[in-house]
């Protein structure tokens, strides 16, 4: 699957969906998409949907971490959607599973954000 980043708005959340291989070559595209999302709604909640991701390297992880830091600095947040084995394993090994809020679907992620 070729690398692609899509952005769509669902009500007040921005969903950035990534497909293919996220590495040092493709990571800048994700960075642009995340920064645009944060720009549009600095205190908003961004969901990075990694379901279609086949591979992620340290450059990709760096952008997710940087994106989360930037979003939180403005009062927003960046959460992940991921169930795939490959990506989950990397998040587990690097300890990022405990840093990010990770959900099994976009609707779960949106649900979790809703005030009780």
């Amino acid at each position: 699957m070729p690398f692609a980043v899509d952005r769509r708005d669902i009500e007040d959340t921005v969903v950035v969906a990534v497909r293919g291989e996220l590495d040092i070559g493709t990571a800048p595209d994700l960075r642009v998409a995340l920064m645009e999302a944060i720009e549009r709604q600095p205190d908003g909640r961004i969901i990075a949907d990694l379901e279609g991701l086949e591979f992620i390297d340290s450059a990709g992880l760096g952008i997710l971490i940087g994106g989360r830091k930037r979003a939180q600095a403005g009062g927003g947040d960046l959460v992940l959607v991921s169930t795939g084995r490959n990506v989950a394993k990397i998040l587990e090994l690097t300890g990022l599973m405990r840093v990010f809020d990770v959900y099994s679907s976009v609707s779960d992620a949106r649900e979790a954000a809703r005030p009780d």
Binding site: I24, P28, I63, I65, G66
Partner: protein, 698 residues
Amino acid sequence: MKFWPGSPFPLGATYDGVGTNFAVFSEAAERVELCLFEPDGTETRIPLTEMAAWVWHGYAPDIGPGQRYGYRVHGPYDPGQGLRCNPSKLLLDPYATAIDGEVQWNESLFNYRFDDPENSFNDDDSGPSMPKAVVTSPYFDWAHDRPPRTPLDDSVIYEVHVKGFTQQHPGVPENLRGTYAGLAHPASIDYLLNLGVTAVELLPVHQFIHDSHLADRGLRNYWGYNSIGFMAPQNDYAASTQPGGQVQEFKWMVKQLHAAGIEVILDVVYNHTAEGNHLGPILSFKGLDNAAYYRLVDDDRRFYYDTTGTGNSLNMRHPHVLQLIMDSLRYWVTEMHVDGFRFDLASTLARQFHEVDRLSAFFDLIQQDPVVSRVKLIAEPWDVGEGGYQVGNFPPLWSEWNGKYRDTLRDYWRGEPQTLGEFAARFTGSSDLYEDDARKPSASVNFVTAHDGFTLHDLVSYNDKHNEANGEGGADGESHNRSWNSGVEGPTDDPEVLEIRARQQRNFLATVLLSQGIPMLLGGDEMGRTQGGNNNAYCQDNEISWFDWEHRDGDLLAFTQRLIAFRRAHPVFRRRHFFHGESLGAAGPDIAWFRPDGTEMTEQDWASGFGKALSVFLNGETIPSPDARGQRVLDDSFLLLFNAHHEPLEVTMPEERWGARWVRVLDTADAFNEGEAVEAGQTTKIDARSLALLRRTG
């Protein structure tokens, strides 16, 4: 452009995945501007308004890898007081991890006008003529890279120039020749593996400057002892043409060499910078904070204190200078994965005030550093200052280029009168230099040639240096080389002379590889590389210096491969401890020395004038240090017969208790008598100027 306060730590340009933090030290500055450059050269200046403890900083949320940048510093300009701030000069970041472009030499790089160096001030913008620092990405897929961690005692070091090694290598694709990627190419790595070396020691790869006085003569700085970027890999050794691509390529090279089990040691030059003396260019440190970075002359701070003969010396008394050096060393170990360092003119680094001090701050810092203290540390133990020759005086963690070893071996094989005691001390690891402070034979890096001086081929082909190509009328370079041309100066087709030269090269290689200590080969010596008698090819970035693969000496190469394999197979040649010379039980002494008549050397023999032939017995059954599992190490026992005389010699084998029967396993006299067996008390012939190695078989 968006710009946020950022953080004063870490120093340099740090990309965090989305934006870049900039931080630079200057106590002299009143204001600092960050200058960002577009690909077309357009410059945007952003004032760094935040400062903490003299570190000026800011965060650019939209800036990432590939961005080119520099600094401009506003502050006092008063050279007499050691202050040289001049905002018209674009300055390189001392912490730049990559540098793009080369210096374009012109007057704008200087603080003065060429027609009036003493009294003028130059405020021409140097920006267009300066290389630029580049923001780099720290991310790299190291996969399963791990350091080989070859024990020092088992190491064979190969000193080599990144560019010269493959610039003319027919097996390396043209676009990769002369580059990091070229050294990482399978053709290069196979060669190193077949040779058997365990580590490459690379001539400087920190970004350096091609000096203007060389450019004026159509020459370039080839060796690179002229650093300006202590975190940045030299950009013109990269095949990659992307700004910052040299970092990824360097890492790739290390990864490939490690995968082959080969370590990477860097020759590092922290004693001075490329900014020269008071008339030198303004590239970085001078403009940032001249008095912090450099040692200035106490009673006239316009001038630079110089113990290196290069114009300036870094100020090892300043905390930010020490920090820069330690940060640089750690960066190359933790981020670039290198395995050790060889410190150029290391005595300079240990100078506290004027004298060289073993307890200097520099050594203390290295000793305490959790990263740097664990890699290989090799000193070039001299500089040109007072008391600068310090062989044997470095602290226990360190190994040293053993200049006395080089001089003694050269004199021995060219037949100069000297005491055999001196030769014996060098051959056995120089315990006289190192044992008194509990150092081991691995403290001694044994070599006869290095980049600075004749190649091995030229050492046996020239009495005198031939440096005309360097453009100084042949006056530069060392004049006292202890070399011998074997009968004719330079190229010849006289077969007798050629035979002597071939044999002398084998003598040197065999002695180095059979000595106790760490052997170091100058890259190319194993294939007869010549520089046409040039013993100071620092400025010869051309065929004079580059490996000539087409005309390589295949016989010598095969001989060297055999020698290295032999050393690696026999632990008696790489003992971890010095010899005692005393009897250690039934197996007898660990070492014994004999005269050609087969009797043991006496006190008188050691001092005698006829110091050209001797034999040494190495006992393979008395190696004192156990292996990694605590088991006793057993090896064969050997007898080495040395004859530096110009005539053959009859040598009587020692009496039977030293060995009943011996087989000649190696002979530098063109396989003179290899395979021949000889018994105790019998005589055997050893050819003129040769070395024979006999293995005990009974």
